[in-house]
Symmetry: C2
Subunit: 368 residues, 2 copies
């Protein structure tokens, strides 16, 4: 059975069905700034809510905000990089970037101390964001447990969380999230405040559209946020817009998970480790034998190495098309396809590790 909630994604995903079930829109025609981006042009970002406001802001060079949250748990892997790459993309388009470190949510649902969570957030997430290209200009990274060094801003953020609780019922929470606990409910309210607070008078103080790029499993948060934005009379918010990306498949097929090291490539792994994992675990769309593969060809649609190339590691459309063609025809063997990914991955990881070490000295420009 397929199950998609913010706490659990399982089963086989039919994205067309999800679009219908969740009531989101397929991504329509986009201007060049977007279709040049690998995630848009390859359909990895496949659906949206009210994205027109963001397109309009980009086309007319009007201000907009991108907000994302990070849950400091486990290792930062290539699946996480999907969101990071969008963050950096929107920054290049002129967005102001808000990054919420969901340490309160992690504390409430995972039982680590805030100190441990801070360390994970910095080592695994923020250093990797910087290494991936996040610039310090026009970025606000904050911890849910300490929103701001400015008391008026801090209070405004938590005040909004508290006030929002008056505008929602338990049944609505249950309808959206399934079973909830006080800790999850409070975290959900804080997440709504994360998305809405940039438009409060204490922050941007304008009704600026905000884009929240998420996996489709996070849409319940978006729905609740949009509903609460309408109900809450105390402030005027800009449009809450969202896009939805497909999940990057796990190395063995199935789900990519932080807690299962054989389901992902972490951005702190050595090229050697990554090579070993890809060779040993990457789910292949190839045939049982070389003879059969040569004759019938492989299936790139289910081949994890090909999917990683398509989603992230081969930007060049011509090269990717050639790989796909050769694999489908049987000319390219599974081992050879893996070798292409390994080559790309090694180059990426080597460069990334150097950038990540340099990023450490930049940290103070990002976190106060």
């Amino acid at each position: 059975m397929t199950k998609v909630t913010p706490w659990d994604v399982s089963g086989k995903l039919d994205y067309n069905k999800l679009i219908k079930d969740f009531g989101v829109k397929s991504i329509g025609k986009l201007p060049k700034q977007f279709t040049d981006n690998i995630l848009f042009k390859r359909g990895t970002i496949f659906a949206e809510r009210d994205f027109k406001h963001i397109i309009e802001a980009v086309e007319n060079k009007k201000p907009f905000i991108m907000l994302t949250g990070l849950m400091p748990s486990g290792r930062f892997h290539i699946g996480h990089a999907l969101i990071a790459k969008q963050m950096i993309f929107y920054q290049s388009l002129g967005a102001k970037i808000y990054i919420a470190v969901a340490d309160i949510e992690a504390y409430n649902t995972r039982g680590k101390t805030l100190e441990e969570l801070r360390e994970i957030a910095i080592e695994e997430y923020i250093l990797n964001y910087i290494a991936l290209g996040l610039k310090p200009e026009n970025v606000e990274i904050y911890f849910q447990s300490q929103r701001s060094q400015n008391a008026n801003k801090a209070s405004a953020y938590y005040r909004l969380q508290n006030q929002l609780s008056a505008h929602i019922t338990f049944n609505e929470f249950k309808a959206v999230y399934g079973e909830v606990t006080p800790g999850k409910m409070v975290s959900a309210l804080l997440q709504v405040s994360d998305i809405l607070h940039p438009n409060l008078p204490e922050f941007e103080a304008k009704q600026i559209p905000i884009i929240v790029p998420v996996g489709i499993d996070q849409d319940p948060h978006i729905r609740i946020t949009r509903d609460l934005a309408k109900r809450f009379k105390g402030a005027k918010f800009g449009p809450v817009c969202s896009t939805y990306n497909k999940f990057m498949p796990g190395l063995k097929g199935g789900k990519m998970s932080s807690s299962d090291p054989y389901s992902h490539i972490a951005l702190t792994e050595t090229p050697k480790e990554a090579k070993k994992k890809i060779n040993k675990y990457a789910f292949s769309g190839g045939r049982e034998t070389v003879e059969e593969h040569r004759k019938k060809g492989g299936n790139p649609d289910v081949d994890v190495s090909f999917q990683y190339l398509r989603m992230m590691f081969e930007e060049d459309d011509v090269k990717l098309a050639q790989i796909e063609k050769d694999y489908r025809s049987g000319k390219l063997l599974s081992g050879e396809l893996k070798a292409i990914l390994i080559e790309k991955m090694s180059t990426f990881l080597e460069g990334h590790h150097k950038k990540r070490e340099k990023a450490r000295s930049q940290l103070s420009k990002f976190i106060k």
Copy 2:
């Protein structure tokens, strides 16, 4: 049926039964500092939890905190003055006073704007506290919606509220409060943070005992607070102590309520209005006719005027005993008893109104 929850008090109250039901302790032997106080000596404060820590602090001149919350709704009446008088009493004993304006709770449960609630808090509560004798030294008055002008303090207070949610279940909330809504649950968590946060490192940073004087209906909050203080590992709190006062009866008998002007005397009423109300509405323990009263005597135990004298307006034990004796014997008529209260009340209100106008210029010493 008697019902006592933080949201509803109804029915006839048997305080001995409440002591048993709630698992609190009767007030025991007290040192002179306490028995000199009208509320303690007359048994209006009738029960406690862990009060020994406060007695010990007073006797050994060690620091302690008194915290109370005010719900900014409706007019400040003589029932509210019961808590205000304790606040001023504890200040005279050396306590640091924390006063939480529960504007978030009022917003979440009563649907007024924060601006309206701020005005009510100042006009009805804080000005009256000052007029009743609250001194600006060693007092922190704060609004739940804006805890502090110091960002570290503000965040610490809301962070604690958020973290506490991880340590309680919905069923516990329901067992203590009956049916709850998200707004009530969030308010209850904020109230726990109100009581516990003074001992956080960002505030007093010591494990100082804290006394929270409340009506017995507020004990569920105290129970939840004490439980959460034990469960929460992130900080060490001092003992959470409480005392319970009996309710001041409403003018007509029954409950005193802000929303029913004929059930209370407000501290902003003129002596003339108060006189009219007492004469017209005050429930009397007297007999149907003067003859019967002279013969059988009145019942001071149910006479509201006598109760007001006993609880608040006649400090002199000898005079009160004489009034009681004369009323019980039939020598003192109901109208005469009312006249004694009216005389006391008029003197009090006249003096209070002058003090309240002077208090306005003091306000900036109390609220930043």
